[in-house]
């Protein structure tokens, strides 16, 4: 008898419990209401000859190798026609004080062709980061942040989603895959929503700002950081470009 009750209680616990900051959305229920209508956009340039990115040996991962028509390379420095992608740009000064409402929409990062896509992603403190696997094989998402809790989880099959929430700002949380040593990604965890990641064409846009003067910082995983200031009027737009050297 006693055993029956204890077992039932255990199952009840298991059904409800299970610990960590897993499923579920971020803090806010409603969409972020922008503080203003101004936007800052710009281009991230790369000056000099683009360095060659190292080739990745995917010979022992045929399902991933098949997704790359040319020999896969590790896009550490991703330059197209002098434009630099995967630069994390955020406002570091000039903002009115928070707290800022957290979007219920998750930020997303995928594992596809044995690469993290996108390589750099921004997420707010308290916002869900949805990690997905588009490869039909095991990926191991390992993050060893300095300000946030480490996690080390698996996604053995395609179509899986794991949700994580970061509780402290951190520039940048490094992601690895232990199964595929070349796989890296970076998440910028910010207290406010004013960040962007430069695209393949080097462009970025940060919108929803009130009028003001802002200090911005652009971060690249190997090329360091660059700073810049810009002033923008209410409902207006301004441009700020960054250039990283080779």
């Amino acid at each position: 008898m006693r055993r029956f009750w204890v077992t039932s209680c255990l199952f009840a616990f298991l059904g409800c419990g299970g610990g960590d900051g897993g499923s579920g959305g971020g803090g806010g229920a409603a969409e972020t209401a922008p503080l203003g209508n101004a936007s800052i956009s710009g281009m991230v340039m790369f000056s000099g000859d683009a360095p060659a990115n190292p080739a990745i040996d995917m010979s022992e991962e045929p399902e991933c190798a098949a997704k790359h028509t040319d020999g896969p390379t590790n896009p550490i420095v991703s330059v197209t026609d002098g434009h630099l992608a995967n630069v994390f740009v955020r406002v570091v000064g000039g903002l009115p004080g928070g707290p800022y409402p957290v979007p219920s929409e998750p930020a997303t990062i995928d594992q596809n062709g044995c690469l993290y896509v996108p390589r750099v992603v921004g997420v707010m403190v308290g916002q869900t980061l949805a990690i997905t696997n588009s490869d039909p094989l095991l990926h191991n998402i390992k993050a060893v942040p300095t300000e946030n809790r480490l996690f080390n989880i698996s996604q053995p099959r395609a179509g899986m989603t794991s949700n994580r929430i970061f509780t402290a700002p951190e520039i940048m949380v490094p992601f690895e895959c232990s199964v595929h040593g070349w796989m890296n990604a970076y998440a910028g965890v910010v207290e406010h929503p004013y960040f962007a990641v430069s695209g393949a064409d080097g462009s970025f846009t940060i919108s929803g700002l009130p009028a003001g003067t802002y200090q911005l910082e652009a971060w690249h995983e190997t090329l360091g950081t660059q700073s810049g200031d810009v002033t923008v009027e209410a409902d207006g737009s301004a441009t700020l470009n960054f250039t990283f050297g080779g």
Binding site: A52, P54, A55, D57, S59, E60, L137, L138, N140, N152, I153, S154, S178, V179, H180, G181
Partner: protein, 224 residues
């Protein structure tokens, strides 16, 4: 369902397999003696009305026999095993002409470092191949296992090779493949969630094919 070992392809596999079969026969005999004995006793000496058990407290002679026979048998097995063990794992038994490789073992990959065309490990023409070990047939090879995070274990079932890779320790393992072909490498020490997928392959080439493969790799490396 069988107790027959799978096919092997290394020089010392034969010694290991022989020892295994000797033990199989000896333990098989002991197994039959005990199990049949138990069954026979259970049937023959089951209680029936009018029977009585025989009040026997023991037999020194029996004790001596069944102490000495197992002891002698086990000592023999031990002596047979000692030589083989020393030959495979002894610190001084690595053949001096073994081709050296480095294996950087991590969660959850095997990165094999080849010495490159100059024939020396630790020089700039070394190259790394992930999860593929290419070796020539009928040549001893020596792998230095360098674990980078936790304990792993280099296991090639077909070669009867197994050696733990321990972070912080200089671990060497040697073997000599006897048949051209492709064999699997598994990790045989729980090393985390990807332990089950920590698979690599050994490619045993003929001497010519091995040279060809090496030069193809060197050429490809030059192009990069």
């Amino acid at each position: 369902m069988s107790w027959i070992l799978p096919p092997s392809a290394s020089t010392f596999a034969g010694e290991i397999d022989f020892l295994y079969y000797v033990i199989l026969v000896i333990t098989g005999i002991a197994f039959v003696v005990v199990e049949v004995g138990l069954l026979v006793f259970a049937i023959k000496y089951r209680a029936r009305p009018g029977r009585k058990a025989q009040y026997i407290e023991g037999s020194t002679k029996a004790e001596i026999i069944w102490t000495a026979v197992p002891a002698v048998t086990l000592v023999i097995i031990g002596l047979m095993s000692g030589g083989v063990w020393n030959h495979i794992k002894g610190r001084n038994s690595i053949p001096p002409n073994a081709i050296p490789y480095e294996v950087h073992v991590k969660q959850f990959e095997w990165n094999f470092t080849y010495r490159g065309p100059d024939g020396q490990l630790g020089t700039s023409d070394d190259f790394i191949v992930r999860n593929q070990l290419h070796i020539p047939v009928n040549r001893p090879v020596e792998l230095q296992l360098i674990a980078e995070d936790v304990i792993h274990s280099f296991f090639v079932p077909a070669f009867r090779v197994k050696q733990d890779a321990v972070p912080g320790m200089d671990i060497r393992v040697w073997f000599e493949a006897t048949k051209v072909g492709e064999y699997e490498i598994a990790c045989a020490e729980l090393c985390g969630l990807g332990h089950y997928r920590m698979r690599a392959r050994v490619f045993v080439h003929s001497a010519e094919d091995y040279q060809q493969w090496l030069s193809d790799r060197a050429a490809a490396a030059d192009e990069e």
